[in-house]
Subunit: 258 residues, 2 copies
Amino acid sequence: MTVETSPDGRQGSPAVDSAARILELLSRYRTRTSTLSEIAAALELPKSTVLRILRTLQAHSLVHHDAETRRYQLGFFTAVLGSRAAEGLDSFTRTRPFLTEISERTGLTAALVQRVSADRLMYVAEQHGAGPSTVHISVGNRFPMFEVSFGRWWVAFSTPAEREALVPAALPAVTDRTPTDREAYLRDCAALGSRSVLVTRDEYIPGVFTSSCAALDPRGQLEGVVVALGFSQSVDGPAEQAVHTVMTDVATRLNAHI
Amino acid sequence: MTVETSPDGRQGSPAVDSAARILELLSRYRTRTSTLSEIAAALELPKSTVLRILRTLQAHSLVHHDAETRRYQLGFFTAVLGSRAAEGLDSFTRTRPFLTEISERTGLTAALVQRVSADRLMYVAEQHGAGPSTVHISVGNRFPMFEVSFGRWWVAFSTPAEREALVPAALPAVTDRTPTDREAYLRDCAALGSRSVLVTRDEYIPGVFTSSCAALDPRGQLEGVVVALGFSQSVDGPAEQAVHTVMTDVATRLNAHI
């Protein structure tokens, strides 16, 4: 996460911004336990500033400091906050049972994708697949909207004017299977609706099959995309049909309210 | 959570302290969605300060602002951080399966209690009971160590000198069944070990039965207490024996490493 100004561009709090970036750093797998020096270097902040913020976060049990290893990690109150956040967020509570259902019925990994800025998405929840080997996704990582197939959902649920602004003139060719014709891309997006399932194979990541559907809020706005991910090779003809049946069923029930 | 100075008393960051208190406020059930004015009033902070902090938290998706209701709630990145924190915290990952096991085998509510300051404890995780009516606990709330039975575990795993400092001269009589004799209390504590189960009935909350055991870290330090809670009336003779069997089994396996 880079330093962001507040949504309307007005002044935020630099110390709180740094605190959020520290928490974010400690949420990544590679840097989940870090020393003061490592945190200061990664965020390009003075050690004295970082120490001051870490002490405050530690006082609230948002970070934990191991006196022996001198490393910081997320604290248990962060876990408490997180479970409260998940309970309170409609998109989590509504989609969670569907993620479980998808992973159980298909054996694939199920995930919830949300939009985190104008053109960035994030995997915000995951349910590991029950199959013998499954695709692992990294909850919390951000990625460009047009470097995954799921970006099409946000285009689909935008107004024509929003689409024009959103979809770049040159779509990135992530692999040689990525669709890059803008007009064809827009037509594909326009065909997606609340009961649709979008299937891709090797389009953005070689070897990965995805099947996704929209999760709409009570007002019919797109609040997330529910995805099933598997290895292309193992999701062959009959298996793909089975996944399709499950995802169509999920899309219908998930969006039954609109 | 009141304003706390940093653990060693040195200067922390007031803005980060306020941010943590805002997140804490939004994690409580009664105040999980709040307006700017409500937050500012609850924390006795100027609205301009709170707005500045909220904007920054919002930019990081740590809080979510509903433009229609003008209410703030915890944002989805808080949920992401929380699941990462839980994954990284040994105490959560090690005890979680045992909480599930206790609730499934006994029908009671299972919880993990941790120490959050010198003399305060907190329920940090809960697994709802499967029974027809169960005791509900409030994850995230802090309570005095000597106003619950679980405090005895921290006394048990302290050195004699620490015990002297920790246990107050006058133990609070929360109900007329609360043990208040300090010498008897210290003897009870001294009898508790890694395989022990502590059973109480109506001692601190009338009508509530508890059975608890220690969760020790790899070095043998007490990192939490695993608790089963139920209604005293429904945990009668044979049911109590069944709970005892489960909790003894859990204590043995949970602390098999020491």
